[in-house]
């Protein structure tokens, strides 16, 4: 391990932001806090994005590691102990100074502080605590702070940090325990889920306290989140989505983030490196499905199944569900209940709420729906207004699919000509395999796991 000392702040920032960028969470939402007049900063409930980096991702927080020293050796991680990379560590004051000076210039909404495991989980967590404590008390910072809890750190430390941070997250890293064993040999499900449970319980207790004492200190007011890497291990979308669902239900998580696997190390335990790039489309479909779980009342088992375990590349999960359930359509917009309206492609949760409100005042027609934000070119195949469909359309899989594809994203013409049964075979996993097979004549990565 190469330890570089006397580095300039710019060099440190370069190394420690570069090393933190693979963490996907950057939201600053979930806390509404006014400034008390004695410091700097406040929080907006919806969060504020300040910029967009060259990859089109939002920049809201100063996302850095405290240090990229690490005693662990997670195969997928650039900072793993067996890598020969320049190492750096901030001091608490450096982190505070950067946060305040960036914040004053309105570059950022706050700080996202993660870290490699330096010496021990407790040692690292203690450094994080000291930094955040300083930032909140000495520097009087009242903006947003997101802290990563270090797996294996003591309960007491995690709790102390939780009273200073707005959000905490503990990365699940990989969807299954086997994946973790293989790629993150020093971590295990227990050291990850224990702190997650602790944060959950402390939040519950804190809610009780706040009901009695309004001014009691708040514990992680913006809730906790986690993330998992997609495509480094052979789990299918169905497994991943089930894991996410369990996390929402059993751990009250605010968000689960998905991070398309990016090759930074060569390791025999990792998928073979290809030119295909990270599985961004797959990640996108998972986010869409995640949205359906959280806001649309869907369950994982409605969207995928053992038999059909991966999302389609060409159709989004909601359309896909509707095409599989044509017997429920068309739906009369003036009568359907809210839960069913939510399931119509082209009707979002906001427009569904508007529909329910507006139809109390009168009978709705297609024109009204349009004004309420319904995307008619998607919805028209699935709804009636006053018993009438918008055009003469058939309630038939192939027919609707062909029409939806022609309004959807850029889809190659050869694909538009296929029928539903053929297209539904095209999930991202198979799609990639085929791509790899034809483009490079290589064996696809997934087969290597299974084979």
């Amino acid at each position: 391990m190469r330890i570089t000392q006397n580095m300039s702040l710019a060099e440190k920032l370069n190394i420690l932001s570069d090393a933190a960028k693979y963490d996907v969470a950057c939201t600053s939402s979930g806390t509404d806090r006014k400034n008390d007049g004695t410091g700097i900063g406040n929080c907006a409930k919806a969060g504020i994005c300040h910029s967009f980096s060259a990859d089109g991702r939002c920049i809201s927080l100063l996302k850095i590691l405290f240090t990229n020293e690490c005693i662990y050796d997670c195969k997928y991680c650039i900072n793993r102990s067996s890598n020969d990379v320049p190492r750096a560590s901030f001091t608490p004051d450096e982190v505070c100074d950067l946060t305040i000076e960036f914040y004053r210039r309105n570059y950022i909404e706050g700080l996202f502080l993660s870290s490699g495991v330096w010496k021990s989980p407790d040692f690292t967590m203690e450094m994080i605590y000291q930094t955040i404590y300083k930032l909140r008390t000495e520097y009087r910072f009242q903006g947003y702070i997101h802290v990563k809890a270090i797996p294996g750190a003591s309960q007491e430390l995690i709790q102390r940090v939780g009273f200073l941070a707005d959000r905490m997250s503990i990365n699940l890293e990989l969807p299954t325990a086997e994946g973790l064993r293989k790629l993150a040999p020093h971590k295990n499900r227990k050291t990850i889920l224990t702190p997650m449970r602790l944060v959950q319980n402390s939040m519950k207790e804190n809610k009780q306290e706040l009901m009695v004492y309004r001014n009691a200190p708040r514990f992680v007011p913006a809730g906790q989140s986690t993330q998992m890497i997609i495509g480094a291990t052979p789990e299918n979308d169905f497994q991943i989505l089930n894991v996410a669902e369990a996390l929402y239900k059993n751990f009250d998580l605010k968000r689960v983030f998905y991070s398309a696997f990016i090759h930074v190390n060569d390791d025999s335990n990792l998928p073979v490196r290809t030119d295909a790039g990270p599985p961004l489309l797959r990640e996108h479909r998972l986010y869409q499905a995640d949205w359906l779980l959280r806001y649309y009342g869907f369950e994982a088992k409605e969207l995928l199944s053992e038999k059909n375990p991966n999302f389609n590349v060409l159709i989004d999960p909601k359309c896909n569900w509707a095409l599989e359930h044509l017997e429920l359509f068309p739906l009369e917009v003036n009568l359907a209940d809210y839960q069913m309206l939510l399931r119509v492609p082209g009707i979002g949760y906001k427009s569904a709420a508007r529909i329910v409100k507006a139809r109390r005042m009168g009978v709705l027609d297609f024109d009204d729906l349009k004004k309420m934000g319904v995307v008619l070119k998607r919805a028209l195949y699935f709804i009636t207004c006053k018993g009438r469909m918008m055009y003469h359309t058939k309630i038939e899989q192939d027919y609707i699919l062909r029409n939806l594809l022609s309004v959807g994203d850029k889809v190659p013409i050869s694909v538009r000509e296929m029928n539903y049964k053929q297209i539904s075979l095209f999930d991202d996993v198979n799609f990639r395999q085929e791509q790899f097979a034809t483009q490079q004549g290589k064996k696809a990565p997934i087969e290597q796991y299974l084979g």
């Binding site: 920032l13 932001s17 700097i40 990859d55």
Partner: protein, 256 residues
Amino acid sequence: MKRVYVCTDSLTGIFSAIYDAWKTKLGENEVGIALRGSVEQELFCEYVEIRDNEKKAIAVENLIKRHLGEYAYWNIYHTILSHDSKKADVILGMMLEARKIPDSTRIMEHLSHPKVRRMFEISRKVSNEAHYYREIVRFRELQNGILFSEIEPRNRMLSCLGEHFSDRFPLENWMIYDRTHQMVMVHEAGKQWILVHGEQIDEKLITNCSVKETMYVKLWKGFFDSVAIKERESYERQRQHLPLHYRKYVTEFQEI
């Protein structure tokens, strides 16, 4: 003959005109308001010049707040800040419609009325722009310690930023300079913000930055570059979220 009141493009001006128009009890097609400087002369119209009148303006403000409610007032306020040249007429039309319906406080739900819908659109554009500037205002520290920022917004929405930044930086001296409308928002540490119109800004003073300013700009630009993931690069997505038009004064897109 239709009567059109002509007023200045200001809150006081527009409210003064509404006051007189409202008093006539004329219907939507018989009365209108135009802004001085953007009157489109029509046949069979009588034009009446209106002078700014604080008392009338306050009366109208109270009328709106009392009878149409806070939400409608919020929309009217944002509409007045817009660069739309027909905005005053739109507000009048919306208010005349509110007079007709049984519950005036629900006027903003009547989106089927063209004036109400138009007002909804205009006020949304303005509040969106204000929200945008909450994100992309960038301050630099001048030699005298003042945090200074300049912007070129389409609408006169500077006042919408006051509460946000005063709450955020209560102990700082800061200024936001709207170059389009030649206005400055000034906040002195520990005090309320104020708006200053027409004041000449000393261009030399505002380029004279503190010793550490360049260092933090460099640190920020370095961070901005290193945080992007090469394998996911997408300038198109970046442009979708942050159109080139808005980047002029945004530190990370400026050359040092």
